[in-house]
C-alpha cells in the first residue's frame, strides 16, 4: 500500500525517539507520583486552610498549558537563574511537577475514600499514624486511586509529546524530523500514532478492568 523510502536506520531512529518518550514518562511519573503522594498526604493531613498555598501552586500546574510551563521553566532556569541543565532535565522537572499536581488530587481522593471509622479502628488497636497509613490507608486508597493513576500516567506519556520545545527529541519530534527528510507525512504519522496507541490502549483497558473489579466489592 505504501511505497516508502523508510530504511531500517529510520526505524532505529524512531525507536530511539520512542525510547526517549518512555524514559521521560517513566522518570516523570515516578518522581511525580512520589511528590504527588507527599503533597496529597500533606494536604489531607493539614486540612484545606493550611494546605491552601500548596493547593494554589499545584493548581497552577493544572491550569496553564504544558507548553507554556515548559517554555517558562526553560526560560526561568536558564535565562534568569542561569543554571546550565539539559532540556531533558527541564522536561523531566516540569512533567514531574505536572504529574504531582494531578497525582496529589488522586491521592487525596483515595485517602478520603477510606472510611474514618476504619482508620479509627486501626488507631484503637495501638497502631501509630505511620502504621495506619501503611497497613490500612495505603492498600485501601490504592484501590480507589489506581485506575485514575493509570489514566494519569498515560496522559503524561501523551503530553510528553510537547517536550520538543525544550529540544528533547522524543517520538513525535523524531517523526517530524523524518517527515522533513522523507516527506511521507501520512505513513510516518500513522506509525507514530500507532505506537502511542499500542502502549496506551492496553494499559487504559487494564485500568478500566481494575476499576470494574474493585468497584464490585
Amino acid at each position: 500500500m505504501f511505497d516508502t523510502a523508510l530504511t531500517a536506520a529510520d526505524f532505529v531512529f524512531l525507536a530511539k525517539g520512542a525510547g526517549v518518550t518512555i524514559i521521560v514518562t517513566l522518570i516523570s511519573v515516578l518522581a511525580g507520583t512520589i511528590l504527588g503522594i507527599l503533597f496529597g498526604v500533606f494536604r489531607y493531613q493539614v486540612g484545606a486552610i493550611w494546605a491552601a498555598p500548596l493547593t494554589f501552586v499545584l493548581d497552577i500546574f493544572r491550569s496553564i498549558p504544558l507548553l507554556i510551563q515548559l517554555v517558562l521553566a526553560n526560560a526561568f532556569i536558564g535565562t534568569i537563574l542561569q543554571i546550565r541543565i539539559s532540556g531533558f532535565t527541564v522536561a523531566c522537572i516540569v512533567l514531574s511537577m505536572y504529574t504531582a499536581a494531578f497525582c496529589s488530587e488522586i491521592v487525596r481522593g483515595g485517602i478520603e475514600a477510606v472510611p474514618a471509622t476504619t482508620r479509627r479502628a486501626a488507631r484503637s488497636l495501638g497502631m501509630t499514624w505511620g502504621q495506619d497509613m501503611r497497613e490500612i490507608v495505603l492498600p485501601l486508597a490504592t484501590r480507589v486511586a489506581l485506575p485514575s493513576w493509570i489514566g494519569l500516567a498515560l496522559g503524561v506519556m501523551k503530553d510528553s509529546a510537547l517536550v520538543y520545545v525544550v529540544q528533547v527529541t522524543e517520538l513525535l519530534k523524531s517523526t517530524q524530523i523524518l517527515i522533513t527528510r522523507l516527506q511521507e507525512p501520512l505513513l510516518l504519522l500513522l506509525i507514530c500514532g500507532a505506537f502511542y496507541f499500542v502502549i496506551s490502549f492496553p494499559l487504559a483497558r487494564f485500568g478500566g478492568y481494575l476499576e470494574k473489579r474493585w468497584s464490585n466489592d
Binding site: T118, R120, S124, L125, G126, L140
Partner: protein, 240 residues
C-alpha cells in the same frame, strides 16, 4: 482501674460531656444507656485517647490518658474497643485482620500472632473463616471478628460501643452471646448498648447518660427496678 474525673468535652459550641465522673474497677462490667447524642460514644473514644478532652482527667491503671508525655499507642494496647460500624479491614482476610496489629504493634512473630488469632477466632466462633475476606461475612460475623481482633491484643479493658445496633435482628443474639461469655470470664468492660435485657443481665452497674450528664448510676436491679431520675423513667418507659 479506669478513673474518669470531671471530664468535659465540646465539639465547637456543643458541649457533649458536662463533667463526667466514673470509676470502673478491675473485673467490673459497666453498661451505659441513654438517648441518641447523649455523649456515650464520645466518652468511650475519650477513654482510649482517640478524642482529646477539654478539662478533667482520665486515668487508666494510674496513667493519665491525656497527659503530654503519655504514649497513647502503648496505652491503647491495654484497651480494646469495638465500634457500632463493622470496622473490618476489607483488604485483609479474617486471619490477617486479627494478626496485623499483633505483628506491627506488639511485634509478635507471625507464628505467634497466628496462634493467638486462631485461638481468639475459635473463641468467638469464627474458627472456620480464617481465609475468608470480611466482605463475605455477615454483619454479626464481622462484629465477632472485630471482638477477636481486639482480644488478640490481650487488652486489660474492653470498650463496646453499641456493637449490635447496625445488625439485623436475627444476628444480634450471636454477638451478645460473645459479650456474655467475655463478661463471664471476668473481663473488665464498658458497654454502651440499647439492649436493656442484656444490660440487666451482665452489668455490675448501669449508667444512664442524658445530654452529656451521667444522670444516674446504680446496679441494674435498682436502676431498672426503681429509677429515680425522671428522664431515666421516661427513657425506660419509651424503650419498653
Amino acid at each position: 482501674m479506669i478513673e474518669i474525673e470531671n471530664v468535659r468535652k465540646s465539639f465547637g459550641s456543643l458541649e457533649v460531656l458536662k463533667g463526667i465522673d466514673l470509676t470502673v474497677q478491675k473485673g467490673e462490667v459497666v453498661t451505659i444507656i441513654g438517648g441518641s447524642g447523649s455523649g456515650k460514644s464520645t466518652l468511650l473514644t475519650c477513654i482510649n485517647g482517640l478524642e482529646p478532652i477539654d478539662s478533667g482527667r482520665i486515668l487508666v491503671d494510674g496513667t493519665e490518658v491525656h497527659a503530654k508525655g503519655t504514649d497513647l499507642n502503648k496505652l491503647r494496647r491495654k484497651i480494646g474497643i469495638v465500634f457500632q460500624q463493622f470496622n473490618a479491614f476489607p483488604h485483609l482476610t479474617v486471619l490477617e485482620n486479627v494478626t496485623l496489629a499483633q505483628r506491627k504493634v506488639l511485634k509478635r512473630s507471625r507464628a505467634e500472632a497466628e496462634a493467638e488469632a486462631v485461638k481468639q477466632l475459635n473463641h468467638v466462633g469464627l474458627g472456620d473463616k480464617l481465609k475468608v475476606y470480611p466482605g463475605r461475612l455477615s454483619g454479626g460475623q464481622q462484629q465477632r471478628m472485630a471482638i477477636a481482633r481486639a482480644l488478640a491484643m490481650s487488652p486489660d479493658y474492653m470498650l463496646f460501643d453499641e456493637v449490635t445496633s447496625a445488625l439485623d435482628p436475627q444476628l444480634v443474639g450471636e454477638v451478645l452471646d460473645t459479650l456474655r461469655m467475655l463478661a463471664g470470664e471476668g473481663m473488665t468492660m464498658i458497654c454502651v448498648t440499647h439492649e436493656m435485657k442484656f444490660a440487666r443481665e451482665v452489668s455490675d452497674r448501669v449508667a444512664f447518660f442524658h445530654k452529656g450528664v451521667m444522670a444516674e448510676i446504680a446496679p441494674p436491679e435498682q436502676l431498672f427496678g426503681n429509677p429515680k431520675d425522671t428522664e431515666l423513667q421516661k427513657f425506660l418507659s419509651a424503650t419498653h
